[in-house]
């Protein structure tokens, strides 16, 4: 089978978020980059499917040249090859993003056959538009199930478990299909050193799509109040006890 997983390079924000002076972007000077936890699960799922069923897994991203790092990360986990839709680094709106991805999928499928499954994260970690997966599915005319916590291939269809209030909705969907997945779908593996070394040699097809006229415009970013709070380690082992007791006293527990 063939599985495509789409990922987006986003800043790794463990601490307080700081905006660039124009409030149009995050200040990323001190930040590393990653993909969202949802997408990490998508990558893991794609790798597991091909390990189980054989075939080919492909990772795709739309982003700046540096996003190649995220493609290598995915390939280090076992994805076979990558498609890089290279941009100048500016943020594309969901419509433009989806359009470029659709073109790329059509081109790849024309050459290599259809993808049985196309996986997206439920939403990106930064802009959180919740749209790209649905737009791609709509354009390709394939079924789409969102917010998945479990995916099982059963013959020519896929059983999808979607988180819902108080339980799970289960869908059986014929392939090819588009799925958007959520953190908790699986427990992603760490890359092995041989995996990392293989990733450096795996093929990346790079193309520069034309950006569709944006219909969404970013006005400005605002950091929500209360962010940046973080846990503080008071100590470890028996020596931490006085500090813990003091803290419990301070907050009125004892």
């Amino acid at each position: 089978m063939r599985v495509l997983v789409c990922v987006k390079r986003v800043p790794f924000t463990g601490g307080k978020m700081v905006l660039a002076p124009d409030s149009m972007a995050l200040e990323t000077r001190h930040l590393g980059f990653t993909i969202s936890p949802h997408e990490e699960c998508g990558v893991e799922e794609a790798v597991r499917m091909i390990e189980a069923k054989s075939g080919e897994s492909v990772v795709l991203t739309l982003g700046p040249a540096e996003a190649a790092e995220q493609l290598r990360d995915a390939m280090a986990l076992g994805v076979d090859r990558a498609i890089h839709l290279e941009t100048d680094g500016s943020e594309w709106d969901p419509e433009a993003t989806a359009a470029a991805i659709i073109d790329a999928i059509r081109a790849d499928e024309a050459a290599s056959g259809p993808f049985d499954l196309i996986l997206f994260g439920n939403e990106s970690a930064d802009s959180g538009g919740f749209q790209v997966g649905l737009r791609v599915a709509g354009a390709l005319g394939r079924p789409c199930v969102t917010g998945l916590k479990k995916v099982t291939i059963e013959g020519a269809s896929v059983r999808c478990e979607q988180e819902s209030e108080g339980g799970r909705d289960v869908y059986a969907v014929p392939m090819p299909a588009v799925l958007t997945v959520k953190e908790g779908l699986n427990l992603p593996r760490y890359p092995s050193v041989p995996g990392r070394m293989r990733a450096a040699r795996k093929p990346v097809a790079t193309m520069t799509p034309t950006q569709a006229q944006a219909r969404l415009e970013l006005a400005s970013l605002v950091v929500p109040a209360g962010q940046g709070r973080r846990a503080e380690v008071l100590g470890s082992g028996p020596s931490a006890a006085p500090a813990v007791v003091e803290m419990l006293r301070k907050i009125g527990v004892v």
Binding site: F12, S192, V193, G228, G235
Partner: protein
């Protein structure tokens, strides 16, 4: 009271800024030595405030070629063990190349010199027995140190804080950021923090990579740069499943690939010093709040680690090649690098009361803390810290560009094979003597001293090799031929037979003037300085406990005018020492003339003939006695001539304003030709000429750890006037010395392969049977200086030996490159091996 005390006192005896391993140690040791009202601050939380200590790999290798670093490390291990936070795992430095195997024999020698036992060279199969998950087929052998181990540096810090607190000496304030350091009249007065001000006239900056930023608040510099050290953690490792402690197998240093691999519980930690130097500015470090991990754990840059993964895979395929072993953690950890690889310790030369202890790694943290505390409390540390002294830096060496250039160059030498004579390639040609243009024409090979370009030898002297033939020893071994030329020995012989011309521009020169000038130099010099005007005095400068702070010459140029001349390397710390001993009432001043005055050395039997052709002044032996100085006229130049010698021949140091230096050089050159004047490099001045005369050098023979009696520099009587170290010196004169400075010569240079080998210094001196020699203070004997003695036809070694070995004719041995060579004590004490009656310099 909890572990943190948020109520900052308004006054403190001392404020220590930074709760990494160094700050905790400094604060603890100050309290242990009796100081009270110590305040220890950090802007981060405790116990891990987010600096380099928090992400350090925490392992400690014991052996370093630097005596100072090894001593600090050994002391640190002692403290970590006493605190119960040290796990001994052993460590193997493995070699993939023949060059590295040779280097490992040098490690063996350093271990013996500094007294680290046991150590052993091990075969690949022995290495495999120690580290069963290593592929022994790709290594040639290893250097095994069983005493290597891992520490819990955060726990050690906590323990030290608790001890200081329970002794009532220490208040700790976490999450307290320093906003400013107020300096008044050149002295630190207060520390301004987010929690209020603290009045204090002593402040210690132990801020690791942030140190330059904090120093800037006080208007001064701590020359270091934050730099990346990459580290990954892979696991879970099946072999380590069920590990009962953090480490059960020896730590491996894969020296040729600049990497290490160590067990960390169930995982393997892989670190690298192999990647491109990645330097930051202190201002690049994110705040605690902004940092994704900690402020000193930067995002990992995978492309810099590609080759390292391959190297790790080669050495440890069982673990690193396991598909189920994942990369769980990967960081670009930030640590401190300095322009010369040594820490930055001591009181700022710019701001009184402002101390630094920075660029210190976990392995030497507690030892450094103790040493700094001793220095602050007693004025001196037990371990000689001259190579780490913050006052050592010349102005250009404190610039951002210099720090970055040298740190970048030095980074990949972390595990490198560094030749003792190895020169820096970056940021050269900063200080050029007026003669530089001539020296280039003569094909000089330049070595650097304090930023000055100094000729080490001149290619133009190559024809002398033929003239002196077999008297010039050739070297065939590549190691000893590196950074060396037989031309040095030929220049030496030419000087001894005719005359040599030396560029001594790298001298640090400063004048002490004013009504209290005499008193100022008197109180730091061992020798009597109340001498007639026109006398030049060579004098040790003692530390409070009577060790060697320095040695230098002082000319009396007037009743209230002294000129101090010292070496470039120690020049800046000597200047601080004199500056600190000026009277507080301003009745004496120090003026640095280093950049306005240059010096030419003229020595050899024909030196007088040459000088006489230049001047109408009386330069006869009676007219210009040894040990005197005065201004003479040489044509239109007025030259301060000082009749002393560091090479043991008749001659003068000639001091001249920098702008007229070239003119003097040219005059000497022109007039010297007929007398066979030869330009001579520092190879002669610093090594061959000096060693034949057994002249001691600071940093080699002369350290605070040895005293005047041991160095054989005792004068018949001690002056009545007070001076630093007098009490101790008087005591030393009453004691039987524990060691005596000796000059040895090598009896046979032939190695097992038949090649002649020549020691370069710092090798252990052993008994004839090969046993370590240790004096009653526990100090091992090692070669303090080594070099050729072309006039005596021997290779000369200097070493302190305990009295039972310190007698002429004693047969001993020296360990070099894994073999022992027979040596004989030529002289015990100060008598030179060449011209023992000193007839030449007085002729």
């Amino acid at each position: 009271m909890g572990p943190t005390d948020r109520n900052l006192p308004s006054h403190a005896r001392v404020v220590v800024i930074g709760c990494g391993i160094v700050g905790n140690s400094v604060a603890y040791h100050l309290g242990r030595l009796g100081w009270r009202d110590i305040v220890l601050l950090d802007k981060g939380p405790l116990p891990n405030p987010g600096g380099s200590t928090g992400h350090a790999s925490n392992f400690i290798y014991l052996v370093d070629h630097s005596k100072e670093m090894t001593a600090l490390t050994i002391e640190s291990v002692k403290q970590y063990k006493e605190m119960g936070v040290f796990i001994e795992s052993g460590g193997v430095e493995v070699a993939r190349t023949k060059e590295r195997m040779q280097e490992l024999t040098r490690r063996m020698a350093s271990a013996m010199s500094w007294g680290i036992e046991p150590v052993a060279l091990v075969s690949p199969s022995e290495t495999k027995r120690l580290v069963p998950y290593l592929d022994e087929s790709i290594i040639l052998g290893g250097f095994y140190t069983p005493g290597v181990g891992v520490v819990d540096s955060l726990r050690a810090g906590t323990l030290m804080r608790e001890r200081g607190q329970s002794a009532g000496a220490l208040a700790v304030a976490a999450k307290t950021e320093v906003l400013g350091i107020d300096v008044e009249h050149g002295r630190v007065r207060r520390v301004r923090t987010t929690e209020g001000d603290i009045e204090a006239d002593t402040v210690v900056i132990t801020c690791g990579v942030w140190s330059p930023r904090v120093a800037r608040m006080a208007g001064t510099q701590i020359p270091l740069t934050p730099a990346v050290h990459q580290m990954i953690d892979v696991g879970p490792v099946p072999r380590f499943a069920g590990a009962k402690s953090d480490i059960e197998f020896p730590i491996v240093r894969d020296m040729d690939t600049n990497m290490y691999e160590r067990q960390a519980g169930g995982d393997l930690e892989i670190g690298s010093y192999a990647h491109r130097p990645i330097l930051y500015d202190p201002d690049d470090i994110p705040s605690l709040a902004q940092a994704a991990l900690s402020p000193t754990e930067f995002p990992f840059t995978q492309p810099d680690f590609e080759l390292q993964m391959q190297h790790a895979l080669e050495l440890m395929p069982e673990i690193v090649g396991d598909e189920k072993v994942g990369v769980k953690y990967a960081i670009n950890g930030i640590l401190s690098l300095t322009p010369d690889g040594m820490p930055v310790l001591g009181e700022s030369p710019d701001v009184k009361g402002l101390w630094a202890a920075a660029a210190v790694w976990v392995k030497e943290g507690p030892g450094t803390g103790k040493a700094i505390a001793e220095w602050m409390v007693h004025g001196e540390s037990e371990i000689d810290l001259h190579s780490s002294d913050i006052a050592r830096f010349h102005e250009h060496q404190k610039t951002r560009a210099h720090v970055r250039a040298r740190a970048a160059e030095g980074f990949n030498k972390t595990y490198g094979i560094v030749h003792p004579g190895e020169q820096w390639a970056s940021n050269r040609e900063v200080r050029l003597s007026p003669f530089n243009v001539r020296e280039r024409e003569l094909g000089a090979t330049f070595f650097e001293a304090a930023g000055w370009e100094r000729p080490q030898w001149y290619e133009s002297n190559a024809p002398l090799l033929e003239e002196f033939g077999d008297r010039v020893t050739r070297r065939t071994a590549e190691w000893e031929s590196r950074w060396w030329s037989p031309i040095i020995n030929a220049e030496h012989l030419a000087m001894r037979e005719r005359a040599g011309l030396f560029d001594l521009s790298a001298f640090t020169i400063f004048d002490i003037t004013g009504p209290s000038a005499l008193q100022s130099v008197q109180c730091v010099a061992l020798r009597q300085m109340d001498v007639p005007v026109g006398r030049v005095v060579y004098t040790p400068v003692l530390s409070p406990t009577g060790g060697f702070k320095s040695d230098l010459t002082i000319m009396r140029l007037g009743d209230e005018h002294f000129r101090v001349v010292t070496g470039g390397a120690s020049g800046m710390s000597d200047r601080k020492w004199f500056q600190d001993h000026l009277p507080p009432d301003g009745t004496a001043q120090l003026t640095d003339l280093t950049s306005s005055t240059t010096t030419i050395g003229l020595w050899g039997p024909r030196a007088r003939d040459i000088l006489a052709t230049l001047t109408m002044d009386d330069v006869s032996n009676d007219g210009f006695k040894f040990g005197t100085c005065r201004t003479i006229e040489a044509g239109t130049l007025r030259v301060l001539a000082s009749r002393i010698s560091y090479v043991g021949d008749l001659g003068w140091e000639l001091y001249i304003p920098m702008d007229q230096g070239l003119k003097l050089w040219d005059l000497l050159w022109e007039m010297g030709k007929q007398h066979g004047l030869t330009p001579c490099g520092i190879g002669v001045y610093g090594t061959t000429g000096r060693l034949e005369k057994c002249y001691r050098a600071h940093g080699n023979e002369l350290e605070t750890e040895y005293n005047v009696v041991e160095a054989g520099m005792t004068a018949p009587r001690v002056k009545d006037e007070d001076f630093v170290g007098k009490e101790a010196h008087l005591r030393h004169r009453q004691e039987e010395p524990a060691a005596i400075m000796c000059t040895l010569t090598v009896d046979d240079h032939t190695s097992s392969t038949g090649e002649k080998r020549y020691m370069l210094g710092r090798e252990p001196i052993l008994t004839h049977e090969g046993k370590r020699i240790v004096d009653r203070h526990g100090r091992g004997s090692y070669v303090t200086s080594a070099g050729a003695g072309p006039s005596i036809g021997k290779h000369i070694l200097m070493a302190y030996l305990p009295p039972e070995h310190a007698r002429a004719g004693a047969a001993l041995s020296v360990q070099y490159m894994g073999e022992r060579y027979p040596v004989t004590v030529a002289v015990a004490g100060p008598t030179p091996v060449f011209d023992p009656e000193n007839l030449r310099i007085r002729s």
